[in-house]
């Protein structure tokens, strides 16, 4: 109940519309959604953009060092979002994030990942960490869906607590897969390009603010 109210609130705040350009929102498939990261709103907006049937079986992957650091954040991440908390540092055999994620997926849960590992400061897409590659190799049946989140970094940027009510877009793209014999680095670059390609303004002749343009205003 609280969750539905929260999702409605997020939808109103971010005005997010979902564009499905390459996979079907009605299909219940095991998926790894990977997206650009620039705001605390990223996970919850992507999650709220999913149809209810998919959302119930989809969990976000969040950093334990941030979201587990006090009781309130732990409650929010676990109870409100049903997140999967993983370590970013000090990885041991017992505490291996890839293992944890693979186990969750084998239990039928789709995951939402942010391969940059942290929120970008200026809206550009940083290099992707290799976790996605390792996880995809461990769960070969999963569909890897690139997602582009537009304007969320303007609504609630890193370092700010007050949101401004702009209109955001969530673009779900065509799934990719690891090619035969493809190396980790090549795959991660391809994954990053797949997310960037979904940016709506790169599909028009001239554009609204975008992370691809080099003019001074646009990168934010």
């Amino acid at each position: 109940m609280l969750r539905s109210a929260f999702i409605l609130f997020i939808r109103l705040l971010t005005g997010a519309s979902a564009l499905w350009q390459g996979c079907d929102p009605r299909e219940r498939k095991l998926r790894i959604y990977f997206a650009n990261h620039g705001s605390h709103l990223d996970f919850v907006t992507l999650w709220a953009a999913l149809p209810k049937e998919l959302r119930e079986h989809t969990r976000g992957v969040a950093a334990r060092d941030y979201w587990g650091r006090n009781a309130f954040l732990r409650w929010v991440s676990l109870n409100l979002f049903n997140a999967l908390l993983i370590s970013r540092e000090g990885i041991t055999r017992e505490d291996n994030p890839i293992t944890q994620m693979a186990e969750a997926m084998n239990a039928g849960q789709s995951l939402i990942l942010f391969p940059e590992g942290t929120r970008s400061r200026d809206g550009s897409i940083g290099s992707f960490k290799p976790g996605l590659y390792h996880l995809a190799a461990r769960v070969p049946t999963a569909e890897l869906v690139p997602v582009y989140l537009q304007n969320l970094n303007r609504i609630l940027p890193k370092g700010h607590l007050l949101p401004i009510p702009l209109i955001s877009t969530v673009v779900f793209g065509k799934p990719i897969r690891i090619e035969e014999g493809e190396h980790k680095k090549a795959f991660m670059e391809r994954a990053q390009a797949a997310v960037l390609a979904l940016c709506p303004s790169s599909q028009q002749t001239t554009s609204a603010p975008s992370p691809t343009e080099k003019t001074s205003i646009e990168v934010y």
Binding site: G15, S17, D122, N151, R154, P157, H160, L162, P163, I164, P165, L166, I167, Q204, T205, T206, S207, A208, P209, S216, I217, E218, Y220
Partner: protein, 316 residues
């Protein structure tokens, strides 16, 4: 017991009849059109009519709630318009707190001034105080990159989306002795003439439009659509003089001014869209685009209309 003056109630009845007729025509056309392009046009037409039903309903309910309802609905409309405007406009991280102040301090305060009827502050708060506040809040963050352009863009957005639109509910505060039942009729006159002019320009354009009037800015507008729309909307205004303290000729002239300013307002906003490479400000209203697409003609005509009435027809 109707909350509306009899003239207003009559107009609402006529609007209801027009909407029903439009729905019927749309339904019949949908059944009889077979060509691909024809079907697309009819689909758009029916989407537009459906949106008109919703917009009219919301508007009537708001007006029926008196001043508080009218102020709230225009506050909400300004909010949605400003939201679409800023989404499309390039901003920098240093503008974040400025934008927050625009949405959550300036906008509500402007409409508070309307509600409390403090005309002196209402008239200057945005063009003086808010215009000073915007560059000051941004400059504190220490980012001089494209500073003038950013400040100007934000100020302009506040002017068009908030300041101009707030003149509409402000009409309710003008003391006009001839209007015994309150000023809601003045708002109806403005909105019906302005929106009617949009619809009529569209219809005339579809029927007899041939020569583009501003091809580099707005390719769909035609001279025939413009002339037909403006003249028929002025006639519409003359017919609605009962809502206002003016006689029919005066009402027709004022309606002419409203439609002319509405045309230019639409053209200006189209120029901005064209420059940004977008077709619509948003996708909120099916068949029409965003909120700003619907009220762009009201933005420029509202303050002119307000001041014409204030100067010539209201007793200070």
């Amino acid at each position: 017991m109707s909350p509306f003056a009899p003239e207003v109630a009559n107009l609402l009845l006529i609007i209801l009849i027009v909407l029903v007729a439009a729905s019927l025509i749309g339904w019949m056309l949908a059944r009889r059109t077979t060509s691909e392009s024809g079907k697309a046009t009819v689909k758009n037409l029916n989407e537009r009519v459906k949106s008109w039903w919703i917009m009219t309903g919301v508007f009537v309910v708001a007006l029926a709630l008196g001043k508080i309802g009218s102020v709230m609905i225009f506050t909400f409309m300004s909010f949605l318009a400003l939201r679409e405007y800023i989404t499309i406009t390039p901003t920098r991280l240093a503008d974040h707190r400025t934008l927050f102040a625009m949405f959550f301090v300036v906008l509500p305060y402007q409409y508070w001034l309307v509600y409390t009827s403090w005309y002196g502050m209402f008239a200057i708060m945005v063009p003086v105080y808010a215009f000073i506040l915007i560059p000051v809040l941004s400059v504190i963050r220490g980012d001089p990159k494209e500073f003038l352009e950013r400040s100007a863009r934000n100020q302009w957005g506040l002017l068009v989306c908030v300041y101009f639109i707030s003149h509409i509910p402000m009409l309710l505060n003008l003391p006009i002795s001839q209007l015994k039942h309150g000023n809601a009729g003045l708002i109806m006159f403005l909105v019906v003439v302005s929106q009617g002019s949009d619809v009529l320009q569209y219809c005339w354009g579809k029927l007899i439009g041939k020569h583009p009037i501003a091809p580099t800015v707005s390719p769909k507008k035609t001279i025939e659509g413009f002339v037909g729309g403006v003249l028929s909307a002025s006639l519409l205004g003359a017919l609605m003089h009962g809502l206002t303290p003016f006689g029919p000729l005066c009402a027709g002239l004022i309606a002419f001014v409203i439609t002319l300013m509405g045309f230019f307002g639409g053209l200006v906003m189209s120029a901005i869209k064209r420059d940004r490479g977008i077709k619509d400000w948003g996708a909120m209203i099916e068949g029409h685009g965003g909120m700003l697409d619907r009220i762009d003609s009201l933005c420029f005509s509202a303050p002119i209309y307000f001041h014409i009435i204030r100067y010539y027809f209201s007793a200070p």
